[in-house]
Structures are given as C-alpha cells and as structure tokens.
C-alpha cells in the first residue's frame, strides 16, 4: 500500500465527520466519567494525527476536495492538503490529542460542567482543523468564526465568576470584530484576485489592494493578539490551563499568523501590508516581552511571552524575504511545542501547589522533578539554547535578520535581536522564579494524565532537534508553499561558528543577566492591560445605549412596519419608470373595460372611507363584481365564474364573521391617516408605472397557437385554461387543493375553540 492511497479525499471527509459525530458522544461520555468523555474526544484528533504523519512521512501528493453548496459563488466547504495545511494539522490534532490526555488529570472530579468542557474542546479542535485545511475564503471565514465561538465557551468555563464572563465576552467581541474585518478583506481579495481558492491567489494591487490588506491584517491582529488588539489574551488566561495551552499558545492564536502567511503572496505589491504588519509585529514583540517581565503570575508571564512570540512571527512574515518566511514557519512549529509544554507545566503546578505566583513557588525541582525537567527543556528551547529545536529555529530567525539590508536591517534586525534578548530574560526569570530557590511549596500527588502529556510535549523539543531531518521535511515544504525561494534553506543542528551564532550567544548572555537581575525586583505586578477595562466599559455603555435606537426603529407598531416595507419595495420600481413606451398604451380594450375600471376604483375608495363595517363588506362585494365584469370583457369566462362564486362566499363570511363587533370602525389617528394615504397613493401609482414599463418591453410573443394545439392534442380538451390547470400544470393544482384543505382544517380548528375559550 503506497502513501498515495492515504491521500484520498474520502479519508479527510471521514475524519471531519468523525470529529463532528464525536462531539455529542464525548459530552454523553463525560456525563458518566470525565475521563471517558475526554477519551472519546481524543480519538478523532489521534486518528487525524496518525493520518497526517503518514502523509508527511511519505511526502504524499497534495489534493483539494470540495462540497459545493452555491455553485456560481463557490460557496461551500473546500479543503486542501498542501504542506502548510499538513504542518498545521499536525500541530492542531497532535497537540489536541495531548491536551485532551492532559485534561484527564487536570480536571479532578466529574463536575457538572465537564460534558460542556469536553464537547467544546473537541468542537474547537474540529473548527481549528477545518480552518487550517480550508482552501476557499468562505471555508476559512466559517471555521474562523467557529474558533471564536468555541473559544468563547471555553474561556467562559467557570461561568459563575463575573470576571471570567467579562474575559470571555471581551475575547469574543475582539476576535468577532476581527472576523468581520477579515470577511471584508477576503471578499475584496477574492474579487480582485478572481478566485476564492487560497491556493490560486494572484498578487493584487491598487487602492482595493491596500484596503483588503488592512482588513485582513485586522483579522490577523485580533486573532493573533497583536498590540493594540491583544487585550483579550491575558484575560483569557482565566480559562482552565488545558484551554490556554491549546487555544492560546499552540493553535488558535496561530490562526492569524497562518492566514498572514497564506495570503501574503497576494500582497507582495502592496506596501501597506508589509509596513502595517511590521508595525504590529514589532510593537507586540517588544511590548509583550517587556510586560511579561513585569508579571509574577507564571501563567501571565507565559501569556505575554506568547504575544511577544506572535509578534516575532508577524514581523518575520511581514518582512517578506524567503529566509524570514522560512524562519517564521520554523518558529511557528517549535513554539507550538515548547509553549504548549510550558503552559501544561504551569497548569500542573497550579493544580498541585495551588499557586502560580513565582514568589511563593520554590524547590519544585525536588518535589516535581518531571515537571521541572520539562519546563527547563522547553524554556531553554524557547530561549534558543542548543541542543533543542527552538535553537535551530531561533538561529534561522537571527540569520534572516542579519541578512536584511537598508531600512529593514535598521529597524527589523535591531527589533528581532532586542526581542530575543527580552525572550531570554523572561524565560530566565520564569525558570528561576518557579523552580529555583524559594520557600518549599507543599505539593499534591502526581496525576498520570498530566505527566504523560507534559513529558511528551517536553520530549518534543529534544526529539525535534535530534530528528532535524524530519523537521526539515515538514517545515521546508511549508515555507516553499509560501515563497518558492525558500527551498535553499534548512534548519541545522550545528550551524558552525557563524556571525549568527555569535550574535545568538550574545543574546543569551545578555538575556540571562537581565532576567536574573529583574527576577524578584517586581514589587508592583503589572496591572491587567488597561485596554481591557476600556473594552469592557465600552461594551457596557454600548449595551446600555442600544435599547434606545432599537426602541426608536423597532417601536412595535405593525402598520408602520408594513408601510415602511411597501415603501421600500416601491423604490425598486423607480428605475423602470423611464422604460415606458407611450405608444404601447391604449386607453381601453373596450369602453366597457373603461367603465368597469372606473366603477372598481370608486367602489374600492368608498370601501376605504365608509365607517360602517357592513358597508365596507358590501363595497368589497361590489369590487368583486366589477373585477368579474372585467374578466368577461377580457375574454376570461372561467375567471369570471370563479370570481363570482368566491366573492359571494367571502361577503357572506364577512357578514357572519363581523358578528359581535361594533358596527363602525374605531377612529384612526389623523396624521397617521394622511401618511398612509400618501404611501398608498405613491405605491398604487408606482405599481401601475412598473407594469406599464414591463408591458413596454415584451420579451416575446405569447405562444397562444401552440397552447391551443397542445390543449386539443395532448389534453384532449377545447377549453385551454382548463386543460392547463388540470393537465399541463396538474401537480400545481393538486398543491392548490392541498392548501385549501389545510385552510379548511385551520378554520375548523379556530372555530371549534370558540366555545371553550368563551367559557374559560
């Protein structure tokens, strides 16, 4: 069996369906025991991981597959399995499997919220999988929004806590707004590039180019927590740690970066793309790192570090050189592994010691040796120390930064080197503060699920370094997918004594010094991002204000709604008024027609202004008679007969139905009456004009003779109208009969309830 027999669309669809099916099943399982639920939830990601590894190992031929809903618009689901999609799938499903394993230890008792947590974790995993595999811009948008919504549910896990609810709402609002911005950008991009497929994007230019660039960057910056849209991420740390490790370090926050990478080739000629991207990336890289140094909560140190690392990725991708792109993809891969491991360790510390404050923690290397080892390995990988995967990736970034020239070199290279120093500094402070000297913390027993997952994640950074060839096979094709020129680059275990290596040494040395110096010198913990309060109070004010305009527009009067609707509908006819050809108009087909039309209008007007209900019903009868007359004159005896019968029944029904009602209509408001008159007049004239316009431009001659022949030959009847109804359109007529039957049943039901209600 060759690898290509695994590169089949049906396998991909089966895996996706399996994910969806497992969501309710995992919730059911979690009601019995949370480990059972999480176990069920882990199966689809595990299978997906295995499938991805097989495809990657065999360098399978990429394929695209789609399920179209609206064909002309390319609306539907469409997926691709190119290298970058597979790389992301490996992270999403691989880390997803580990996080679900970890969660079996993290959540101790089977609380009432576990079914929701389990199902939401898998739902998120499914959305993320769909997002990274998506090929059409519509599919991207749909799954992008799914990740925002599932993330909202996951962050808001402890929903009894008001601050948790606020954090969840903030995350949803910011990423949701970014999603709308992204949709706008993708629509412009799609229409400019002439394709909805991400794998076929062509470079776009011009004014629309930079509007699309800004809108897409809006989506990227909100999802990937770039300053100043980062305020939701520290708040989202209120989520349980498995959620933080999965969503807020390894996968969801990478979605923005992924999109930046994939759509980047379309914006090579748009300067806005590069400079706004650089501004976002550099600010986030530096500000995130500096703020990280000011925190004492280990989880927040990591969260701000993530903002910084995401900033580095955005910077590297925005620079746009092939080498920088290659470095970005490498760091993206390495970061997902070491940051998930670090979060997992912090979660374990939190659960087993009850605190995350680095001043209270100490001596953990004795009490929690495995966790310490994982943290040290992953931390050093983050700092870029050999022999770890993070070192090779960081080397690539430093090399890329040194290769830049001109203004890029001045700004970008300095920032990247500065950002790297800060990274080493907060890593040092994190490791020393958490595991170094300090009061011995009492520690609860180890839980297998957590230990297994953290160990595997920790080993990832070592194995990645040893099996550098395999990592290259994953990372390099993905980088080439974005920039063809990236094929000359490789990750090295040992680069030799290059300038880049020397610079790296300097970075590590400077960072260690800074980190150790700041270690316990933070007296005042950094406040929660000030923007968070602004976002919250802004939302509160908006929600308090919203009922006013809504109450003004949506005031509850149905007649006003109706009048507004018909008036709006009328505006659609205005453009056609100029199409009227006066020559096609005749005064009447026969004088009778003219007289009857006049009688109808008079009777209708009388009906509108007569105050007695009985009188109004009788004028309706008169109108009906008039219309029957017009049918006769027009040459439609069947219609005339039907109309007579129908009209009689309705008038009788009306007179009976008026029963106990007051004889006269209640008086109406005078102003409203004149508004209604104006609207009705305009609408009546508008409809007549639209009809005249359509009559002026007939699309052809009616096939009357063919119909006459068909009636006799096929229907066997001479009355053409009857043949059409009972033969040519028989099914339609059957439907009509059904409608009448349903109406009759409805009327019976309504009439029969009369007695009981009256007695009640």
């Amino acid at each position: 069996m060759t690898v290509d027999s695994f590169a089949e669309p049906w396998i991909l669809w089966t895996l996706l369906v399996l994910h969806v099916v497992a969501i309710p099943l995992s919730a059911l399982g979690a009601r019995r025991d949370h480990r059972l639920g999480l176990g069920i939830a882990a199966i689809p990601p595990l299978l997906t991981t295995i499938w991805t590894v097989i495809l990657l190992a065999g360098s399978a031929e990429p394929f695209t597959t789609e399920l179209l809903w609206v064909e002309g618009l390319d609306v539907g689901f469409s997926f691709r399995t190119d290298s970058i999609a597979l790389l992301m799938t490996l992270l999403v499903s691989g880390i997803g499997t580990l996080v679900l394993t970890y969660a079996t230890g993290y959540f101790s008792s089977s609380s009432a919220q576990m079914p929701r947590m389990t199902a939401s974790l898998l739902a998120f995993s499914t959305s993320m999988l769909g997002l990274v595999l998506a090929d059409s811009i519509w599919t991207v948008f749909i799954f992008w929004e799914f990740t925002s919504i599932t993330s909202f549910v996951l962050v808001g896990h402890k929903d009894v806590d008001a601050s948790v609810r606020d954090a969840a709402r903030r995350a949803l609002m910011i990423t949701g707004a970014g999603g709308l911005s992204l949709l706008g950008g993708l629509v412009i991009l799609g229409s400019e590039a002439g394709t909805t497929s991400l794998s076929e994007l062509e470079p776009i230019t011009g004014g629309r180019g930079w509007i699309a660039a800004l809108l897409i960057l809006g989506g990227v910056a909100t999802k990937s927590a770039q300053v100043p849209f980062h305020v939701w991420l520290p708040g989202a740390m209120k989520a349980p740690t498995p959620v933080s490790a999965y969503l807020h370090s390894a996968t969801m926050v990478k979605a923005g970066v992924l999109l930046l990478a994939i759509t980047g080739p379309a914006f090579v000629d748009v300067a806005t793309w590069k400079w706004v991207g650089l501004a976002l990336g550099i600010t986030s890289m530096l500000w995130g790192g500096i703020t990280s140094l000011r925190h004492r909560d280990a989880k927040l140190i990591l969260a701000w570090g993530t903002i910084s690392q995401l900033g580095l990725l955005v910077t590297l991708l925005s620079v746009g050189t092939a080498k920088a792109t290659f470095a970005a993809i490498s760091i993206l891969f390495a970061h997902a592994i070491f940051k998930a491991a670090l979060f997992a360790v912090v979660g374990e510390i939190d659960i087993r010691t009850g605190t995350r404050d680095i001043r209270e923690l100490g001596g953990l290397h004795r009490t929690m040796p495995i966790a310490t080892a994982v943290a040290v390995v992953s931390g050093l990988s983050m700092a870029g120390v050999p022999p770890l995967l993070g070192f090779a990736a960081k080397e690539a970034a430093v090399e890329a930064a040194l290769k830049l020239s001109g203004i890029d070199a001045l700004i970008v290279s300095t920032s990247i080197i500065g950002g790297s120093v800060i990274t080493v500094a907060y890593t040092t402070r994190f490791l020393l503060g958490t595991f170094g000297a300090g009061p011995d913390t009492s520690v609860a027993p180890r839980r297998p699920g957590m230990t297994i997952a953290t160990t595997i994640l920790g080993l990832g950074s070592i194995v990645g370094y040893i099996a550098m060839g395999a990592v290259n096979n994953i990372v390099r094709p993905a980088a080439i997918e974005i920039d063809k020129k990236a094929e000359v680059y490789l990750l090295y275990r040992w680069p030799g004594l290059t300038t880049g290596f020397m610079v790296s040494l300097g970075i590590v040395a400077a960072g260690v010094v800074v980190g150790a110096f700041i270690l316990n010198r933070v007296d005042q913990p950094a406040p929660e991002a000030r923007g968070a309060d602004m976002v919250d109070s802004g939302l509160d004010r908006f929600l308090a204000w919203a009922p006013q305009p809504i109450a003004a527009i949506q005031h509850g009067s149905l007649p006003v709604y109706l009048a507004t609707m018909v008036l709006v509908a009328l505006t659609a006819t205005i453009p056609f008024a100029s199409d009227i050809d006066v020559d096609t108009l005749v005064l009447w087909d026969s004088p009778f027609q003219g007289a009857l039309a006049l009688a109808i209008v008079v009777a209708a007007l009388a009906g509108a202004f007569v105050s007695s209900r009985l009188g109004a019903a009788l004028t309706l009868g008169a109108v009906g008679l008039g219309v029957s007359g017009i049918f006769v004159v027009h040459g439609a005896p069947d219609l005339a007969l039907t109309q007579l019968v129908v009209e009689t029944v309705i008038v009788v029904g009306f007179v009976l139905g008026l029963g106990h009602l007051a004889r006269s209509f209640p008086a109406a408001h005078a102003t409203w009456k004149s508004v209604r008159m104006a609207v009705s007049t305009i609408l009546g004239v508008g409809v007549a004009l639209a009809l005249a316009a359509s009559g002026s431009n007939p699309s052809g001659t009616p096939p009357i003779e063919e119909l006459a022949e068909a009636a006799v030959d096929e229907g066997g009847g001479a009355n053409i109208v009857n043949v059409i109804l009972t033969d040519l359109r028989a099914l339609d007529t059957l439907g009509e009969v059904v409608v009448l039957a349903v109406v009759a049943i409805g009327i019976l039901a309504l009439a029969n309830t009369r007695e009981t209600e009256a007695n009640a």
Partner: protein, 129 residues
Amino acid sequence: MSVSLLVAIAGLTGVGVYMITARSLSRIILGFSLLGHAAVLALLASGGPAGTPPLANQNDPSTIANPLPQALALTAIVISFGLTLFMLALAQRQQNLTGDDLVEDDLEDIRIARMATDDDDSETEGVES
C-alpha cells in the same frame, strides 16, 4: 397595455395598502382582498390585450386572449380566497378573546422600548446578581 386596467390596478393597490396599514383586523382583511384583485388584474394585463374566450373549438387562435395568465390567475383567485377566509377565522378568534379586532403593538418590541426608558443600570445589574 390598457390604461383602464392600469388605473384599476393602481386604485386597488393603493386602497389595498391603505387598508392593510389600518389597526382594525377586518379592514386589513378587506385590504388583502383588494390586493388580491390587483394582482390578478396585473397578471391579465401583462398577458396581452383582451380577446375572445380561449376555447379552441369555437374561436380562432389568432383572436383569443392569452390563456396562460388566466390559468395563473385562477390559481391566484383560489389561494387569495383561502387566505381571506383563514384571516376571517383569525379575526373571529381574536374577537372572542379580546372583544374587538384591533391589531396590538408587538409585545417583544414594547419590552425593548421599556428597557430604553428604564434606568440604564437596572438591566445589567439584574444579570450580575
């Protein structure tokens, strides 16, 4: 196209809209009936000029009126008949329940309007506590 027919259609549409924007349910039903007539006449008018009845054995196909809109109109008449009777039954029911046949403001919208006039904080506090 016959201007007489257009006048009749304009009149029926105008009066119909005027009546369905009223508060009294029985007027609204009358209005729907008139709109139904307008729609049927519009179908006829757009099908071509008047002619002889479309009976293939009696009249020459070159003189008969277009039969297709007539078939469509017949369906329209019957459906609007059903609609009118059903609305009459509804009006009857409302009359039994409330004693009159007036269309009230939408309850959900009235609730929103009350939110706007109430003290701004009361809603959010209600959620928090």
